[in-house]
Symmetry: C2
Subunit: 340 residues, 2 copies
DNA sequence: GTGAAAGCGCTAACAC
DNA sequence: GTGTTAGCGCTTTCAC
């Protein structure tokens, strides 16, 4: 027994049938709550199941029905980011809630290396899941390609992916960034900088684009500092850099609340008053926003709803329909607090 | 479409065999990298696979091998906690790394309701995974019971679970709490309080016990404030309460870094100097610790290692051996910084 | 209502 | 080396 599983020859549906004095077919019907089964038979089967300790094999079932009863949430991010991103958690919660109600098992899968990537492709192709929700998908990516190729019901979150024909859901990062930057400028700021992050993907690029659009002629590329990570630490170092480049800076748009918090702390430790001397706004309306003092003005990203809707869209596809329209952009909201 | 028939049916190993002019058996051997296959056959199969777009069915495979190639990480916590706990992320990373190397797919499953719980039991019993790593398991719990009943290779993390015969791994919370409290006392603090959390589980209780043990006669139950959540907010409200009960308090042991950070901020906002007037120590050595100013003295919990070792133990069991000893307690380390 | 039987797609003996 | 075949445990016609 190189296999490891304790030698416990599986109790099959046949054992139950024997025990109940019925046929496999009838047992199967009872198990699946199908009609046309007498009450006696039903009871007999239930009793027999209990007595023999029957456990139905998902593999066998899945083989014949070709459904697994599970949906994957694929988090395509380096580990570090997974821990820090405040949205992932909420997306996870939203997804889990909806799926749970539909009696589908959510399985979260993290992709952090080419090897992970390959294995996940195998996993998806193998039929372990009936659908997938993909976070921060890349357009040119083995996983994305596999999903398209096998026609797996799927929904991308946070990435319009105009190129491919897969359902998606997200927010308008550019529009949101533009709005909050305008609002910041409206407080009378003349020298406004940005702490950009994640410029390697759409969300990051779009936020920068929105910032730029809001500033128009006043946009100065020298007042944009970027760091790949949306992190608290990046906020501190980025703010220092910004102050060096422009000591007279009086407004900052940070690409995430964590970054904003780092920037605010940096300013305060140097005795610069927020919002008195410098106004700061963030993005996400995550837990960070309220941990700041003064609390952060920021953009509320409906992460929970994003997760819920993504799940619903996948469920819809599993049932055979096609969500219309193909993509959904959820509205964001500027939450104005004391930091600017 | 392999032939002219309007079948939308799945491409099976038989199609590959036909295309390659070989038998199912040979194709299977190639697919599984088995020896005793000629190079020509190997190439022919690979070529055929590509041409017909073959995807191997995990269900069929799993049905006959009774192995799934996946391991579950079961996070048994309310959603809110999942987001805030700094250890979960690291455990996840450690687990994923080890499993990835063993070519096993990690699937993370969150349990947040009785319904989730039931479904997960089904999931485990169904054979979708070959093993499970369980975070904060309860002893009397459907999932724990199911794991025992079906003899699923498993490892509990962070919970000694003396009662049941399942491999586990954790840290000695009481010992760690006692050590850091002693160290705090050694800085000359006379009135030391605790911000306790998670008293509904072992880890929380043990930390309190350790705190108490360190204080001995000086332990005063009135100086223990507790909040169910290990959160930043709990730290703030708890600290306020503690100050009301004992304005002369000069030392605080917080059950987690997040709680400690909340307490420190509260003190500083009231103009109380840390560590001058009050010394604070935390627990976890999470990202919070360095975000504090002064940085937090705390207990380093080897969360990453915890995850790695748990994964190794499950892998071992899947291969048929039994990890010895049954349980492992990893050492913690006091990290002394500026907050006390 | 219930039973019998035909697969689902694959692996693993066992023959050749 | 390769082909043949007997299942793995279940659902699902189709008779009765």
């Amino acid at each position: 027994m190189p296999d490891g599983r304790p030698t416990r020859s599986r109790v099959t549906i046949q054992h139950v049938a024997d025990e109940a004095g019925l046929s496999r077919g009838t047992v199967s019907r009872v198990l699946n709550d199908e009609p046309y089964v007498s009450d006696e038979a039903r009871d007999a089967v239930r009793e027999a199941v209990r007595r023999v300790g029957y456990v139905r094999s998902a593999a066998a079932r899945s083989l014949v029905t070709s459904r697994a009863g599970a949906v994957a949430l694929i988090v395509h991010e380096p580990h570090v980011v997974v821990l820090d991103d405040p949205n992932i958690g909420n997306i996870l919660i939203g997804t889990n809630t909806v799926l749970s109600e539909a009696d589908q098992q959510l399985v979260t899968v993290i992709v952090d290396s080419p090897r992970d990537s390959e294995r996940v492709v195998e996993y998806l192709r193998g039929g372990f899941v009936d659908g997938a929700i993909v976070l921060s998908a890349r357009t040119d990516d083995p996983i994305t390609r596999a999903i398209i190729e096998i026609g797996l019901p799927a929904c991308f979150v946070g990435h319009p992916s105009d190129a491919v024909d897969i359902s998606y859901i997200g927010i308008d990062n550019a529009e949101a960034a533009e709005q909050i930057t305008r609002r910041l400028v409206a407080t009378g700021r003349r020298r406004v900088g940005m702490l950009a992050s994640g410029l390697d993907r759409d969300s990051g690029q779009d936020r920068l684009a929105g910032f730029r659009a809001a500033l128009g002629d006043r946009y100065d590329p020298r007042l944009v500092v970027d760091d790949p990570l949306f992190s608290y630490a990046a906020g501190g170092t980025g703010m220092r850099e910004l102050l060096e480049r422009a000591p007279d800076i009086d407004g900052v748009f940070a690409a995430s609340d964590a970054v904003a918090a780092g920037a605010m702390d940096h300013l305060q430790r140097r005795g610069i008053d927020v919002p008195g001397q410098v106004g700061i706004v963030g993005f996400d309306d995550s837990a960070w926003a309220l941990r700041c003092d003064p609390p952060l003005s920021t953009v509320r990203q409906p992460a929970l709803t994003l997760g819920e809707d993504a799940a619903r869209r996948v469920l819809l596809q599993i049932e055979g329909s096609t969500p219309e329209p193909r993509g959904l952009i959820l509205p964001t909201e500027v939450v104005w607090r004391g930091s600017a």
